[in-house]
Amino acid sequence: MTEQNSAVVDVWDLHKSFHGHPVLRGIDLHIAPQELTVLIGPSGCGKSTFLRCLNCLEIFDRGKVSIGGINLERTSVPSPLTGEFHAKVRQLRLNVGMVFQSFNLFPHLTALENVMKAPLVVKGIPREQAEAIARELLEKVGLSTHVHHYPSQLSGGQQQRAAIARALAMAPKVMLYDEPTSALDPGLVEEVLQVMKKLHEEGMTQIVVTHEMRFARDVADKIVYFEDGQIVEMAPPKQMFSSPRDERTRRFLKRFL
């Protein structure tokens, strides 16, 4: 597979269960740099869990994840979680930016401080430099006039854009989005999608779990359909939406189109 060699995200045979109930049942996925991949599927299909396994907010049971050259592998169940493993998890997280459905901004910090915090604490870069980066990123997401606002003083769309800026501040190689617009009022969805589209144009590798089918169709490079903890079908949007191969995909998409 040539794709595998050039990929920035590689996942081999990923398994995860909660209390004996399997949620991910052998996921293989390889994502090339600059690609925007959209994960779709019915709720409970495991797509969010998959995303959370990529940066180890959930530790997968078995399989291998490689992001930007950092490899995490668990071979047997149960395999012990060593200190070495945890150190690698942190390295891997530095390659990955995460955007949550409910934004999860730090409510005690202003938008600017939210964006500056991780570079200051984790990378230890000088305050002036961190602030310059933060201001630049907030401007990029259209919040240059709101840098000193607290999250409670921002609208949902503004909060999510600030959250994207916060993730970008760590200069990740991949951005993960877990239903980034599901908690937003319909009128505010577009401003967030616009930011993601802009990042796509700039060449950021992005993996998005979403129900925004129009966004998926117009912007994604690849659509991945999840069901029952497995990847059912994977295709470019045009093919996926016009002629899905699998019956299950067809049934799912019918509800949206």
């Binding site: 907010l57 730090f106 910090l109 991780a118 984790v122 006039t145 409670s152 003083q153």
Partner: protein, 524 residues
Amino acid sequence: MITYLISLIVLFSITASTWAQTSSPKILRWGADSEGGAPYAFQDPADPGRIIGFEVDLVNALAEELHVRPEFVQNQWDGLIPGLQRGNYDMVVNGLEITEDRKAEINFSEPYYLTYEQLTVRKDTYDINSLADCKGKVVGTLKFSLAHRILEAQGGIEVRSYEGQINAYEDLANGRLDAVLMDYPIALYYGQRHPKLKFVGGPISQMTYGIGVRKEDRQLLDEINLALEKLAQNGRLREILERWALWTVPMAEFLHDKKPSTALPTEYDAYMKAVGMRRTWKDRFLQYAGYIPLLAKGALTTIELSILSMLMAVVLGLLIALMRLYTPPPFSQFALAYVEVTRGTPLLIQLFFIFYGLPNIGIKLAPFTAALLGLGLNYAAYEAENYRAGILSIPRSQMEAALALGMTRLQALRHIIVPQAMRLVIPPVTNDFIALLKDSSLVSVITMVELTKVYGQLASTYYDYFGIGLLAAAMYFLIGLPFVRLSRFAENYFSFDKRVPNMARGSKKPRVLSLSGLAHSFHP
């Protein structure tokens, strides 16, 4: 923190100077409880900063004979023997009766005073003239006293035991008791002077007061006995007792001294004059104003102790809470056990244990250190629970967001979780501080003289639990007040919702951090 505590312990540890080790010029430290009241060792009603009493005079005379300088050490009466054993002072002179069980613990000198129990009743009581008449009556006395044992042994008497003599005689005067049985000196100074009360019957039983010293201080005991002998021979002892109106028949028999009185009861008269004065409002005002410096001194100790132990509790509590929440089992279980045990046992017992118990394993702490440790360690358990509640109320998603940004758990706690928990924790912590301020009164049991102790001393001296009580209560209230204000200020400071740097969206009402689930409300 632990090393800090250890260094504290080392710093404040006092090495008990046993008598033999003290280098000259010798200081002879003697323990007594000035709250015990007249005529033993008590605060001079005319000058409350001074300790007077027949035992003070006796110790001074003894010290002169021994060529030492006496130093008074305040100690709760119940704890006089443990205090002696742990080396807070070298002898006890405070109406300590020579009894067999006490002799098992410490050595006693030859008796310096012999007296008896005296029955006191209301002036309009005619049916009680002896101990036998008390059958079926309610009789009050001091707890742990010989009189208490006598009343119990008599049988058929409803015995009420009191902490202080004043309350017992007050209850007799206002009819809650039918009689009071107490040591003659106490009865003389507190019972007889009461306008509604009178003595009835003759001497009951006999008791001997001796000077208590540690078992190992044999040399000191011999020196004291020699000096006492000398004071008895040259008439100094009799003179002291006579000036306090305490010369008794048993005493005269004991010393084979049948001569008529020579000295006038000058000290007794002075005391009766000082406490019995009919006062004008101006006098009263001046009198109360005179208590303030003493109360303020006690209040200062209370403040100092409360602030330091709260600081300790707040720091230690955070560590314990984090340990319980974020460390693997042996540590988290230790933290849990610490909280459960500390919270589940009385502070009073913890204080006793630290002050009187730890010397058994060689850890001898100064009273202030012991009080600080006792209060600090106890309240740390409560603060830990406050922090834990605060931290748990921060949504898990905050920790996840911080971890996803590459922070370690510790960094996430330090920068994200704890600052948010802080605001939620301020009101209960303030609450605990106010509680601690008042709980600090318990440390008087380990010889600390703080606000409540000063109140007790003054009240027992002046027969005035009301006015002085109001003064002391007002002081506690005033001490707490600034901290309540401070906490309100801190709460505002930490409530990030109300900090509005830029009123662009000023119409928005402040959002309240929800205590469960999602922290973020969505703006329509």
